[in-house]
């Protein structure tokens, strides 16, 4: 479908991906750094600019496509994964990115989200998670923690919160990662890794809405404490973190949970080594649900065929069996008669 694949890919820089539209997020919004990370990541993906299509729903984050000098489609609330699915099915050569927020992606669009993930269709889904409705000016979202005080929950939110990564793991995701607006380099790297993956990728990005939910992730991402509060996972590497890399994760076999220990106090072989590729999701779920440290990086990555690959194979099989469809023959198939 894309003749452009034959052409040489130009060496792009960030500015090639900046559109001529003024960015209208609130000054200081976490979305700015996510936009920068994307504009820096795309030149590293080795694709031609016209192959990128960015599809968004409704919400603050969903303005994203207007600011990217790529093909972009700002659609309707919650439906971006469904629209992106139609696009990807009909042109699998595109690099399709879905931009969504916690309200757009997990409330009104929750159904489309889990089904896109379950199909393993080649969409890269970026969830801007700020645990609040920003564009409608501050209501509780499906990722707001119980008790959160917002305009719609003045006495505290009663709902339990979704945990996005465990949720998509349950929906059979083949690539789940987590990063944050303040981890610009880490996010940029994660986006490039996502583009290389076949099938659905899901990237939860912890993002600060400093107008309606300021500091929601401060206890994790504050620069002063961050090294002790997050762990950057890498496939094949030991799970070690801390300001001086002095801490490690081990498995507590009695409670089947992860436990932070000081490296000096454990046997080296007890330190867990991250394996993104295990089909059994138990360890990935433990990592994804960890509150301290919060797991960053690629949590799960499986090498499965994507929906569009399977579709392509199925079509080729049918054509091999039946031959290319001939309209005349189709019309005259079944029981016909002559007058």
């Amino acid at each position: 479908m894309s003749a452009t694949l034959e052409k040489e890919t130009p060496q792009y820089t960030k500015k090639d991906f900046v559109s001529n539209q003024d960015v209208r997020w609130c000054p200081g919004c976490g979305d700015y750094s996510i936009l920068t990370a994307m504009q820096k990541a795309m030149p590293e993906m080795g694709r031609r600019k016209e192959e990128f299509a960015i599809v968004s729903g409704i919400g603050c984050s969903s303005r994203f496509p207007y600011y990217m000098n790529t093909y972009g489609f700002h659609t309707i609330h919650g439906r971006a994964p469904a629209i992106a699915t139609g696009l990807k099915v009909m042109n699998p050569n595109l690099s399709v990115w879905v931009i969504t927020g916690d309200g757009d992606g997990f409330s009104i669009g929750g159904n489309h989200m889990i089904h896109a993930v379950r199909r393993n269709i080649g969409l890269n889904i970026m969830l801007f998670n700020n645990a609040i409705y920003g564009l409608t000016k501050g209501q509780a979202s499906p990722t707001s923690k119980p008790g959160t005080i917002t305009k719609s929950t003045p006495y505290g939110s009663l709902d339990n919160a979704f945990e996005p990564v465990p949720l998509v793991i349950s929906a059979q995701v083949t690539f789940a990662a987590r990063s944050a607006d303040v981890l610009l380099k880490h996010l940029q790297k994660t986006l490039v890794q996502a583009d290389k993956h076949q099938g659905t990728t899901f990237i939860e990005i912890l993002q600060n809405c400093h107008i309606f939910n300021d500091g929601v992730f401060k206890n994790v991402l504050d620069k002063k404490i961050r090294t002790d509060k997050i762990i950057e996972l890498e496939h094949g590497k030991q799970m070690i973190f801390g300001a001086k890399s002095e801490k490690a994760l081990v498995l507590d076999r009695d409670t089947l949970s992860l436990k932070t220990v000081l490296i000096e106090s454990v046997d080296e072989k007890d330190i867990l080594v991250h394996d993104t590729t295990t089909e059994d999701p138990t360890m990935h779920n433990l990592l994804a649900r960890l509150n301290e440290p919060v797991a960053m990086g690629i949590i799960r990555q499986l090498n499965h065929k994507s929906y569009e690959q399977l579709l392509h194979e199925q079509e080729n099989d049918v054509i091999a069996q039946k031959g290319e469809g001939d309209l005349e023959k189709l019309l005259t198939s079944g029981e016909i008669w002559q007058v």
Partner: protein, 635 residues
């Protein structure tokens, strides 16, 4: 020629000598209803009778009528499944008002259908099923076959289950399998009664049960046993001949509306030289479109069964955004869910075909029954000013043409277009003269690949001056990267715009674009009886599946001395260019539709002419007599 009903009772009550040859009476037309429990295979029986009848060369129309439950409790009225066929040696427009012949496989079938059977008609009953418990289940205190309650009819009592078991006693089939073959026995009787050949059914049985010789032999044996029973039984002293109907030369097949839509979509994709995506969600009575197209993977048609109606519509829009043809099929409740997405296609000016196979509403309503009550939903059921194209198929075979038309208008105007059909023509069938593929007109789905102005950026909302369709560039084309979306757009540049004057301009422009379709659709031709002296002052109007019934009503009225001209609206938004002028030429306008007056409302609102409503909303198609009577009452 005498009508079946006038001769059936007297001729069939004659006694004949054993083994003497039976005589045959020619009749012009007859209507048969096969009816039984949901598990009795009546849809299949009707389908096989239909195919044979089509191949013989009769004109025909059918009406399958089945319950919403897959298997309602056995033997109850709620579980009765029926299939009606009207066939003739002359032209047929409807599936028949009332059956001449009822095949009633159990008491529930008799109970549910007796009121419809014409007095003097024939009832073929499977006496084995008229047991005490089955009779009690539906409230018969005594067996109606044995008292005098059916004196008005010729009742042919046949122990079909017993005779089927007898025919199959040498086979290895289980009792259950034998019992399931009894519909073939009933089919055999009706084949003899109307002098139909067994050959197409034998061929079909061999194909269906290929590799299962025991089942092939059993089904053919039972079919033949039924036929021979008809031939030899004293209960049927004569049989009936319905000669071929005159028809245009060519190749024919029998087709339902849903099949015709599926083939029309395949044709449209080829005519547009474009891949197509049918994205849909299962819903009665539209699901067969998905079932059909899912088989055509070698035709570059992709199908996508989405997680819900909304996703289905959105995936179709995604396909259009990719520069291919996005189609979604559904019924009324699905249209309600898709409405927000339809407006996205509208404001982003992307092609989208929405197929609405209407059923009884509101809410879940009558899922398996027919109705035309989504017209105003299609026209207005969305937020904001939301003009869309609307066309309607008038018969099962016409669904083929209209599927192509819907795709053509959607892609050439970059707009949502509704194709309205309904449960009656979706599942009902008629003979279809196959079109010559090379005669079908190409569809022009031109995509922009070059920059259209001197500015730095490509202008996605620059338009073709004739159609007002916007220039459409799709992802993967270098240099034309741009953004579209559901926020109001500045004309030409496509940038987000909150400018009040621009919004008014764009609102009017979107309406004008749909109105421009008028130049690309055919004008209306008035239909008039050949006997008519000239133009009538009376007009009957309709749209969609009522075409056949209205046509017959017009003919019936003429026979009674009332001349009425007929217009059938196939393009509803926009209406054809000559419609208003034509409307003003009549004193009395009747609008016949299966709702409470939706086209009537549209016409009165659009043209400020007064119309008389002719309506029916019972989940069943119009009977000819109902249209005739309602028109006469208002004249």
């Amino acid at each position: 020629m005498k009508a079946f009903i006038d001769i059936a009772k007297s001729e069939l009550n004659k006694t004949i000598e054993a083994n003497s040859a039976k005589s045959q009476q020619e009749i012009e037309k007859v209507t048969i209803r096969f009816s039984g429990d949901s598990g009795d295979g009546m849809q299949l029986t009707g389908g096989r009778f239909t195919t044979t009848t089509a191949i013989i060369g009769n004109d025909l129309a059918t009406l399958p009528d089945y319950p919403a439950e897959i298997r309602a409790p056995a033997g109850t009225v709620a579980g009765v499944s029926g299939f009606q066929i009207h066939f003739s040696s002359s032209e047929v427009h409807t599936s028949g008002d009332r059956p001449d012949v009822l095949v009633a496989m159990n008491p529930a079938a008799l109970m549910a259908n007796l009121k419809d059977v014409l007095p003097g008609g024939v009832i073929i009953a499977n006496t084995d099923a008229y047991t005490k418990s089955n009779l009690t289940k539906v409230g018969y205190a005594e067996n109606p076959l044995d008292n005098n309650s059916l004196n008005e009819y010729k009742v042919v009592k046949v122990p079909i289950s017993t005779l089927t078991r007898e025919a199959l006693k040498e086979t290895s089939l289980s009792d259950k399998e034998k019992e399931r073959s009894k519909n073939m026995f009933a089919l055999g009787i009706t084949f003899w009664m109307f002098d139909r050949t067994l050959e197409p059914t034998e061929k079909w049985i061999k194909g269906k049960f290929a590799g299962k010789d025991a089942l092939i032999n059993a089904n053919i044996k039972t079919l033949k046993a039924g036929f021979h029973f008809g031939e030899t039984t004293e209960l049927l002293p004569i049989n009936f001949l319905v000669k071929k109907a005159p028809a245009a030369k060519g190749t024919y097949r029998n087709i339902t509306g849903n099949e015709a839509i599926s083939l029309g979509l395949v044709a449209a994709a080829q005519l547009a030289k474009s891949p197509m995506l049918l994205a849909t969600y299962p819903i009665t009575p539209a699901s067969d479109i998905l079932h059909n197209l899912a088989k055509y993977k070698n035709y570059r048609i992709r199908t996508f069964q989405a997680e819900d109606e909304i996703a289905a519509c959105c995936a179709a829009i995604g396909a259009s955004y990719a520069g291919t043809i996005g189609v979604t099929s559904t019924s009324g409740p699905g249209v309600a869910l898709k409405s927000e997405a339809i407006n996205l296609a509208l404001i982003t000016e992307l092609p989208l075909v929405i197929i609405d196979v209407q059923r009884g509403g509101p809410s879940t309503g009558l899922p398996t029954k027919t109705e035309q009550s989504d017209l105003l939903q299609a026209a207005f059921g969305r937020n904001g000013e939301s003009p869309v194209g609307i066309i309607a198929a008038k018969s099962a075979a016409d669904c083929f043409n209209k599927a192509i038309e819907a795709v053509r208008l959607a892609v050439e105007f970059r707009a949502p277009v509704f194709l309205m059909t309904d449960g009656y023509i979706a599942n009902g069938s008629e003979p279809w003269l196959l079109p010559n593929v090379s005669d079908l007109k190409d569809i022009n789905f031109d995509l922009t690949t070059k920059k259209n102005n001197e500015d730095e950026d490509y202008h996605p909302y620059e338009r073709d001056p004739q159609t007002l369709a916007r220039k459409m560039a799709v992802p993967a084309v270098a240099g034309l990267e741009h953004r579209i979306g559901g926020l109001e757009k500045q004309d030409v540049t496509g940038h987000i715009s909150y400018d009040p004057v621009n919004h008014e301009h764009m609102s009017k422009l979107r309406a004008e674009k749909i109105q421009k379709m008028q130049k690309y659709i055919p004008e209306i031709e008035v239909e008039r009886n050949t006997s008519a002296s000239g133009k009538s002052k009376n007009l009957v109007l309709g749209w969609g599946s009522t075409y056949g019934a209205i046509t017959d009503a017009r003919i019936t009225l003429a026979e009674q001395g009332i001349e009425v001209d007929q217009i059938h609206i196939e393009y509803i938004n926009p209406f054809p260019a000559n419609f208003e002028k034509l409307l003003n030429e009549y004193d009395n306008i009747f609008v016949a539709e299966m709702n409470l007056g939706q086209l009537a409302f549209l016409i009165q609102g659009t043209f400020a002419v007064k119309v008389n409503k002719v309506t029916k909303i019972q989940g069943q198609p119009f009977k000819i007599s109902e249209i005739v009577e309602q028109i006469k009452a208002q004249l």
